[in-house]
Structure formats: C-alpha cells, structure tokens
Point group: C2
Chain length 424, copies 2
C-alpha cells in the first residue's frame, strides 16, 4: 500500500519540516512594472528613493502668523501684517522687525520669520495689524525642510508589502510605476468520478465539487486570479492530459486523489510525467494526506479531498508558497494568543488545527471556543470559524483555560464594534 | 472663525459619536446577483439553503472494508469480498453474513453493512478473501447521511461575509450565482492650489498629491475600485463643478480644504450645493479636522490634508461606512490587546491613534512599540506601522507596560514565522 512512486519522498514530516521543504525551493518570480492602481498588496522588487525634500521648505504647521520670535519677547505686542501666504504660494517679502505674515498650514515661511503663532493665540486689529498677547518659543509650529523625507533617502525597501501607506509614499516621490515580482499563475484541478461540477445537474449519488471553488477563493484572497481546469475523471489518459496542462502553470493545485486508495491515479500519473514528489503525509489534522512535488519551476500540491482538510492545507503550505513567489517576506497568517474556553482534543505528534470562534473576557483578553464539529468533511463548521487554533504537536490535547495560538481567518480581520475606547 | 455654514452641525464629537452619526444614516445598498468567482469578500443578501443531504448516503470515512459488525464478534475471522466500491459508485450487492466489501473513503456503504474496518487493520488473503484480526465497534468509520448538511437547512445567513469557506458551501449547494448588496461607487477628489498631480512635472514649490492615491488603495483594500476625479484648484467655479460630479457617487471623499483657513472653499461650496454637514472636528489625533455631510443618499467625507490624518480618518469612519453599505455586519478593524514597550503620549479628551510596530514577549503576548515619529505629516512612519494603538480619550497618555488595543493594519495580517508549534 506504499505509493507506487520511485523517487525519494519524505513521509510523515512535521508541518514545519514540510513548510521548509516547500519554501527552500522557492524564490520570488521575475519582476514586472505596474501602475499604482494595480500595486496594492504586491511586494516591492526595488528600493524606492525620495526625489525631493519634504516639506520642500520650512512650512507652517498651523493656521496663524509667521513672526520673528524676538518681536514677542515683550507682550502684548502689535505687529504689521505684510503678506498673506497660503499653501503653494511663494512668499514675496522678507519680514522686518515689527512685521508678521498671515500664514496657512503647509504654507512656506517667509524669509526673516522663525516662528509661527496660532491664529487662536492672536487678536485681529484694523489696518492690517494683529495683536499678540502671549510669547511663543522660537521655532514653534514650524515643520522644517526635509523633516519627513530627504531627497535620495531610501523611503521603501525591496520586499516591503505595498500597503495604502506605501502607495502614499510612492505617489509622494512621484513613482507612477513600480517594480514588483509578477504574480504566480495558478491552476486548480479537481479529480474523481464521484464529483459533480457546479454546472452539472444535481445527481444525488455524486459529491458536489466544492474544493476547486474554495481553492479559487483562497487564491483570490492573495490577489491572484487562478485558472479552474475542471474535473479530471478517473481515466489515466484524461488525467494525464489535464495534468500536462496544469504543469504549464507556476503552481498546480490538485484536489483529491492522493490517499492510498487503489483507485487514486494522481500520484502515479504525476510520476510518469517526471514530477518529483518531495513529501507525502504531514503530521497534522485535518490535512494529513497532503503531497508536494516539483517539475522544473512548477510546484504541485496534491490536496486532500475533504473540504476542511483542503482549506487548512492551503493556509499552511500553499499560501506561504504563493506569497514567497510574489516576493513577500511575511508569509504566514497572523497568530494571536488565546485562552481556551473549553478543552481541545488532539493526538501527540501532530498539530491539530481546531476551528474556533473568538470572543473577549472581561479583561479584554481573547478566548477561543472550539466549534462543536471538528469533522474534516464539515465545511459549515469552517464558515463559523474566526480562527484555526493550533494545538502544538507536543501536546496531547489542551485543557480548558490553557493558552494557544489562533491563526486569524478572513472573518477575523473585522469585528462588530470598534473596541478602541474601552479595553474590551 | 466658525464655519460659514448655516445647517446644524455637531462640533467636537467623540470618535464613537461620530461613528454613530455616520452609521445611523447608512443601510446596505440594493442587491445584485453575481457569480461565485466575483463573490469573495462580499456580504450575502439572502439566506442560502441546502439542496441535498451531505453525505448523500451513509459513506465510509476511511479506505478499508464494509462489514457487518456482528461478523466480527469473534476474531480472527475471514470474510469473503463480494464487491469493490469506490466514491461515486452505487453498490450492487447486499452484504450477507460472512461477506464484506472493499470500500474507499467517501464511497457509499452497501446494504447490510453497518461498520467499516480500516485497511491497515486487515490482512489480504487469496481468492477474494480478507482476514480481520480485531473486533471493531458497530458504526465505526461511517459518516451518516445528512451528518454535515440536511436538505432545506439554512447553511449561510444573510449578512455573512463570503469567505473561501462560504464559497465552498455555495458550490456544495450548487449556487453558481448569489445575491449580495452591490458595491458602493466611490469618488475621490483632492483640492488645493499647492498640490502637484502624479502626472505633473516635479515642482519643488508644490506638495505632491499623495492622499488621493492612498485613499484609492484604502478603498481598493475593501474590494472597491474608486474613481479618482483629480485635483480641484482653489477657484470656486472649478470646485463647484468637481463637487457636483463627485456628488453623483454613493460616497465622495474630499482630501484637504477642511480646516479653518480663509482659503478653504470646500465647506461653503458644499453648503451651496445643499450638502448638509452633520459634524466637523472629532476629538481624535491625528485626524481632528474631519467633516461629514450628506446630500440625499450621497455621503461626503472631508478628510484632513495631512497624509497620516487622512488615512487614520478613513479607517475609523469611511471604512465602516463602506462596509455597512456593502451589507457587512463586522464593520471595524480587528483590535488585539497589546502591552506598551514605552510610554505613549496623548491628551485627555481625545483618542490618540499611535503608530506602532508589534512584537512578542517571551510568554507570547503582544508588545507594541510606538514609532519614534508621530507627526501627522510623516507618511513614512505609517509604512512602518503594524497597528494603530488607541489611547482611550479618558487617559492622559499611557505609561510603559500598560495595556491598550491595537487596530491591525494591512501589514499585520501576515507575519514572518508560522508561530503555531511554540507559544511565541
């Protein structure tokens, strides 16, 4: 009952060993240049430099008056308003003793001025004069040239994720286009005679093919539009031709057909196509029967047929692989520490990924409640989960009240209330 | 210096009051029907029902043999293999005493069988026979019909976010199309004579327009492609025509021009267009000079010109508004409790959103380190931040070691190492 494949293959790796086996074989894809409107969520493939000082000159940080601080050593004092400077203006006059200029936030300080007095700390008078009742420290409310960015400084590092803030920086240094690693091309193939395609009529003897759509969504969630190749039936020729098509992509995800059953043709057919399988079976639950192979630069993941197993394996293995191909440095889902509201079962020697919902206790700490159903066939339990609670392989279950790491799923990115004013 | 607008308008609301003021005016947009490939991240606008039992019949949970448990009361026992059943097959024969059927995971149990014995617990013999050395409990390794889903049950609720797991459920019940609230149409307008557009040549006297691109990315991050209207200069006619165009959208985001400066035309021009302003200035930092108004079903946000203030206001006010328009129930960014690695300054009476990076202490708890720069003009500090640490308004700063809530930004959705085996 061992797999009929003659290449060396590790069986029963730990999750961490399997991740290393995959990621050690992956480097970011070649680069391409894209516009800012397409750049969100990509990884920078170049350093980005400032093309200017920011602020470009000393500017006012407030609406008020540009003054010479020495004029306000003794207050109250009345100063003559000689100019009205707004953002984008070039001041025309130099402040002389006894003079001030009205100035708006972001407007350049006129020559001679060294301090800004906020408008609310002044009193308007007639004849272009203003009264200054209080003294102000030299340099107050001025943003100095180059304070936020200096020309030629590196402002973004290669490998950084292009977030909205990074887009802001790119626009600031006038980079309308930017170099990123290209997106991987991903193909998804289902297989099995028992599967019913989404566009096929309902047949109660069959099993609906949901995994290829879930995988599609998981790939889309990383910003990549995958190709759905369809369902290969259990005929060696058909499977061979589907697999050949799939191996033209950077990543081929195969759903189902990787267990030890006599009728599983996938792994022998991959072997016949010279795909080198690197591991099979990982010490985890759900997701045990995952397999991983390569053919040149193409990566093949054989994912379990059980819907929850397939999703969990994607998150642990495929998602980090895709993110590294895209040039990202942060490859893994965010984990947060949570306390168990009830015991979680697991078997020592394998990581158990427990579907759980999150809530808060009275002190604001997170509590995780394992879903009543942990069946790998129960996709509904996955729709209820905020997180995958990882029970480490050294444990034989966790007791109520113990702490574990919860991997945040999509639903957990958002919450019902702001939770910023109180600690709950 | 009060705003020259005659409609009632609240000044100096708390963040929470401002959020309520906005969200109380918003209901989800009308629905549309979309395909599964477009559905990720949308909110369901209908209940979804199961169209079948799953499993559709009693199936084997393992590769092995379907048996009558009574045959194995005394072991070892040899049984005759009468059939070979794989997933998608219909069993032809009924098991009689002394008989068994080879069966694959997911394959239907033959009539007469009540238990599955895993293949590794059996021994193959010649002449279509197998030996069973151990007894197995009645019902072992059978998944019962309807165990995961019963026909006509509600499997997804209206308002649920369409995650990859929900896509899986939709494919399972063969819903190729699904009803969702349509996406809001969003327009972004910058304004100010001092602004330099991305496609304009470098002019060191000007300020690059970065905010409209950052806002674009923040909107894209919610799955919406906004329209960039461009930069309105400080001429009332030009501004009026830009604002008229913008008010044809569901949401108009205006960057800059909302402070008390004499040269700010935005709010008076909005008033002339009959936009009702509901609030101006919110007790927060950065982001204080935000304003919000409505014209019929159109919502207008006047966002501060400082790049960090603009982004922070978007996250607190615009993002929840857009998510509610899309029909989502979880409107706010995930917060997690963190301990401060150093003191954070703030002024009692307003929430301070402190840019911070996240790390872990030796027990696995999160620590937040405030960025050295908290200037609202310093967009680079925002690219370094994992989270916005909220210092509640009742506090006058927080000391090192105190706990606060950290709102997770995009970068924080991913981390460098899996952190699932150890508690770090």
């Amino acid at each position: 009952m061992n797999p009929p494949i003659e290449t060396p293959m590790a069986i029963g790796l730990s999750v961490s060993e399997a991740q290393t086996c995959i990621l050690d074989r992956i480097v970011p894809l070649e680069t391409e240049e894209i516009g800012l409107a397409q750049a969100l969520g990509r990884a920078l493939a170049e350093e980005v430099y400032a093309n200017r000082d920011l602020p470009p000159y000393n500017v006012s940080a407030m609406d008020g008056f540009a003054v010479r601080a020495a004029d306000l050593f003794e207050v109250p004092r009345t100063l003559q308003i000689i100019e009205d400077i707004k953002a984008g203006d070039t001041p025309r006059l130099t402040l002389q003793p006894g003079q001030c200029a009205k100035i708006m936030t972001g407007a350049p300080l006129p020559p001679g001025a060294d301090t800004v007095v906020r408008v609310e700390d002044t009193r308007p008078l007639e004849n272009d004069k203003a009264e200054f009742p209080i003294s102000v420290k030299l340099g107050t409310d001025i943003r100095l040239r180059g304070e936020n960015m200096r020309q030629s400084d590196v402002v973004l590092q290669a490998g950084e994720e292009i977030t909205p803030a990074a887009i802001s920086v790119l626009a600031t240094v006038k980079r309308a286009k930017v170099k990123v690693a290209r997106k991987p091309r991903v193909a998804i193939l289902s297989n099995g005679d028992e599967l019913e395609a989404l566009d096929e009529p309902l047949d109660l003897r069959k099993i609906p093919d949901s995994n290829s759509h879930a995988l599609m969504a998981q790939v889309q969630n990383l910003g990549i539009e995958p190709a759905l190749l369809g369902i290969a039936r259990d005929k060696p020729d058909e499977l061979t031709s589907f697999l050949k098509r799939g191996l033209e992509y950077d990543i081929l995800l195969i759903s189902g057909g990787t267990s030890v059953g006599d009728h599983d043709y996938v792994r022998p057919t991959l072997a016949a196509l010279n795909v080198v399988m690197h591991f099979w079976r990982v010490e985890m639950r759900p997701g045990h029967p995952i397999a991983f192979g390569t053919l040149g630069n193409a990566f093949v993941f054989c994912l379990p047929g059980n819907p929850v197993s397939s999703m969990v394996c994607f998150e642990q293995f495929v998602s980090p692989a895709l993110r590294r191909l895209m040039g990202h440095r942060r490859l893994f889902r965010r984990t947060i520490p949570v306390r168990l509201a009830q015991a979680a079962k697991s078997r020592q020697g394998r990581i158990e990924f427990v579907r759980a919902t999150l809530s808060r206790d009275t002190s604001g700490d997170y509590i995780a409640t394992p879903d009543a159903s942990q069946s790998s066939g129960d996709i509904l339990s996955m729709t209820r989960a905020d997180a995958l609670l990882a029970v480490p392989s050294e444990h034989n279950g966790l007791a109520m009240g113990e702490t574990a790491q919860a991997q945040l799923l999509e639903t957990a990115m958002w919450q019902h209330s702001p939770n910023i004013e109180k600690i709950l």
